[in-house]
Symmetry: none
Subunit: 282 residues, 2 copies
DNA sequence: TCCCATCTGAAATCAGTATTCCAGAATTGA
DNA sequence: TCAATTCTGGAATACTGATTTCAGATGGGA
């Protein structure tokens, strides 16, 4: 299969000295029509390179591929990885890309996610991940009008990874009961964006007063909860729409979940298997 | 074969309405993995799309190609023309592939969102937006284990914009009651990704049987719900993590909400003001 | 409800392609 | 110049993958 960290083109350039004459011709033909020539049939490729089919196969074998289809698969994978780069998007959209609303919306989303990660303080991120991965801490998650979906989403993942995860759902009245239990060992994760909700601020302030650690995930203008928060992470939420976008905030949340997953993996692995088993029973 | 001035992707998007169900699945599979899926063998392509090999061939024939190899040649030519221009450069200088996990995660998120919008068939998107904005239709939203948060999120926005929006929450048992009310005038919006949930498929199938229109928002591999869906939108969900990412799906959903908002704005404006007023009272 | 038209995929068939073999050509070194 | 070695491509072979067929499934209309 060859070294997967190297493109096929690189391997050809590197090894071309040691090739036989017809292998070299095949290699040059491929490089000069890269990578399409390699996606043709052996016969076509051979004709293009001016060599025989067997020579092409020897060339492919020399590059370390088990068979011609295997070689083509590698080329396709390589190409696909290349096409993944977002630059490609522009060339795909034939007509007036920045004009249409959908395109503008897409561009804004992409920018939000990119900016959010670009401005993320790694220490802060790691500190939060460590906190969420600490099994001695109890976690409580709560969100506002629209961000509650993210709180819920995070909770549903974290609950799988570790015990002691609660989502403060719906009714504000229930929160009071929860408050009673919040203390030094508790972490309250608050999701709150623009048009910050008063009751959320009150809850966080009260919880902080009782000694709980507050983690705030908010927008770039920072919810007032930041006053009492031990850790603050912010995400970009602007969109060409009447609504704010929580896409970047979800991306940030997923990144946190991924980091926590990694930290907890030894213990979480068995836990997940057990959960799968129980789900199977249901 | 076919009109040479049009890309194959365009022809698919344009004609997809008139395709048969399995041709449509093939088309969607190709669009969501464009154009690599089409460079695979018929069998691989068929497996990816979840249809049989003959269906893929009928799909290719419908696009106006004389044979599968002819179709592949067209794809290659198209791709070659694209590669000729801008991004050869960018792909070669893969400078600084972010080694750190957070950077890789961020890059994947950005790519997911970009790809999702790049491969989104605009007609399909518009059709869904129109459906969701039709006040004569009742909307019912439901999601799976992790996607339910998105269903809920979408519902909370749509509910503000228009009447007749229901979120099928939690308990599977409650769904049954709901099913009774689903008929020709109803739209069931289903969010379902990898490790597709059986009960969701059952629900959608049953709802479709009762004449409801099914809108499916799924991943690039298409939930089995696509069999009964009137409209399918797919989002990229792969992430360098143990979990799949729903970021792009949320982005897609927000784009839909934005489109619906725009369509309904004249009527929604007053509605929102009224809601604000009521919230003020509480 | 039944019928007709349409669609779909399993299996059989067929075509074309990769692969192998080997004889002869080219190259090398003495 | 001559052998030894390496390389090369024509032709036979073995597969794999495209294509066709057809029976059954599906859906829509009377």
């Amino acid at each position: 299969m060859g070294n997967p960290d190297q493109t096929i083109a690189e391997r050809i350039r590197e090894g071309i000295r040691d090739f036989t004459a017809s292998e070299r011709r095949a290699g040059l033909a491929l490089l000069s029509h890269y990578p399409m020539a390699g996606l043709e049939t052996v016969a076509e490729f051979a004709a293009r390179a001016g060599v025989s089919a067997p020579s092409v196969l020897r060339f492919v074998a020399r590059l370390g591929h088990a068979s011609y289809p295997d070689f083509q698969r590698a080329l396709r994978d390589e190409l696909e990885a290349q096409l993944k780069t977002p630059l490609m998007k522009a060339s795909h959209e034939t007509s007036a890309p920045p004009q249409d609303r959908l395109g503008r919306f897409a561009a804004a989303m992409v920018a939000n996610v990119a900016d959010t990660f670009a401005h993320l303080p790694p220490q802060e991120f790691d500190a939060v991940a460590a906190l969420l991965a600490d099994p001695r801490r109890k976690l409580h998650l709560v969100g506002g009008r629209f961000t509650d979906a993210i709180a819920r989403y995070a909770a549903s993942h974290l609950r799988i990874l570790r015990p002691g995860v609660a989502h403060l759902a719906g009714q504000v009245e229930h929160w009071r009961d929860h408050l009673l239990d919040l203390g030094r060992r508790d972490v309250l994760v608050v999701f709150d964006i623009r048009r910050y909700q008063e009751n959320i601020v009150t809850l966080a302030t009260e919880a902080a007063g009782r000694g709980a650690t507050i983690v705030l995930v908010t927008d770039q203008w920072l919810s007032p909860v930041s006053r009492v928060a031990g850790h603050v992470l912010s995400a970009r939420i602007e969109a060409p729409s009447n609504w704010d976008s929580t896409v970047a905030m979800l991306a940030l949340t997923e990144a946190l979940v991924a980091a926590v997953t990694e930290r907890l993996w030894p213990s979480a692995k068995g836990r997940i298997e057990e959960i799968e088993r129980l789900r199977g029973l249901a």
